[in-house]
């Protein structure tokens, strides 16, 4: 299966999972606790990144360190 068809298949799968929630129905989705950043601790994130060999799952600014 070429990349174009695979991309289309993934997009169809994603869109079929979507609900049709209107903006005025998003009260619970907008609750602060729904964001993983709500209780995020910079120190805690750093501890996890140093102690675990894996990486990934957080998009955005992050860098390396000589912590291990």
């Amino acid at each position: 299966m070429d990349a174009k068809r695979l991309s289309l298949l993934v997009l169809v799968a994603l869109t079929s999972a979507c609900a049709n929630v209107a903006p005025y129905q998003r009260g619970r989705l907008a609750h602060p606790t729904m964001s993983p950043d709500d209780a995020a601790s910079l120190g805690q994130e750093h501890v996890h990144s140093v102690q675990e060999g894996a990486t990934g799952g957080n998009v955005g600014a992050s860098g390396g360190c000589g912590c291990n």
């Binding site: 979507c18 989705l29 910079l42 060999g53 860098g63």
Partner: protein, 386 residues
Amino acid sequence: MRRAIALSCLSLTSLAGAEPSHLDVDTITEFSAYTDTDAVTVYTPALRGSVKDPLAGWSASGSYLVDIVSAASVDIVSAASPRWMEVRHAGTLSGSYEPRELGLSAFGAVSSEPDYLSLSGGGSASIDLFRKNLTLLGAYSYGHDVAGRSGTPFSVYSLTLNRHTVSTSAAIVLSRSTLLTLVGDAVLESGRQEKPYRWLPLFDASVAPSITPGSSVEEVNALRLPGRIAERVPDTRQRFALTGRFAHRGRASTWLAESRLYADSWGLVANTDDVRWVHDVSRRLSLWPHLRFNVQRGATFWKLAYVGNLSSGLVDAPEFRSGDRELSPLWSGTFGGGGRFDFGNPQERAFGLILQLEATYTDYLRALYISHRWAGFASLQAEVKL
């Protein structure tokens, strides 16, 4: 005359009804502490801030932290080195603009220690589809790390590492109260990654099988070959991760669950699962338990005891060898919890205190010097919104 009065009224009305500022300003100060049974202690004061205009669609944020590290880990003791202290400074800056369905952002980060410097920067683009019921995002970042020796300028001695990261994500609204986010990451690293301070013992081929996990420094010194060899790892590494994040808001609680699958070209395969249940005890107080589990298979070149051969003054050792326990087979479990108390109007969340406590047990299945480690972490944050 009537026209003049009408124009005057219109002007006054415009002034009176001038739109108030839509800026949301949020600052969080944090102090966290970490300690473990491997004699490592870290104190981390940190500051985060963001300002955004939800109507105009732009936001800017930044953070700054200091890690004050004191370490006398078994790796330091095994090298007959005294306890050391070090301070790391790290900062991030990011900005985004999303006036309608399309959004753009840029971010940068820097981390500086006496013997390590990391610089990274990147950007992302996002698009909201189907009335924001589906949001797609693509991001790229580049990182440049330089490792050296404390007290020696990078111009004299340094190892450099370049890192390209491509990430894609899809945030899917499953219902009025449920959100699913899928994130895919590909990290391509090239350069020198070994630690200049890490020296490994070598063992004769006839002795190596008798070395057991968790062997003490004294036991290792009694059985190893003379001398030590520097750590050496492959110059390239391709890392891939797929993360699923689930969030569901009930009447008075929120479930947050995350699962990550990871694999890389060094043979390390890992799964990490994280669950948090935030319960609204009252309008001002919410509490949550937190569980996290991580299990990984070690890198293919990881050995409990590396076999060496000394002949004619030359050392014959494996091409790739490492003493970084985070490359070894291990599992870890974290349990803890936290709470948030809001002062003032709890709906506005203008001023809140957040306390988090957790303990982590790590079992190293095939490592020298230690077989397990207990760690404790605590953080206290104060959030102020204007």
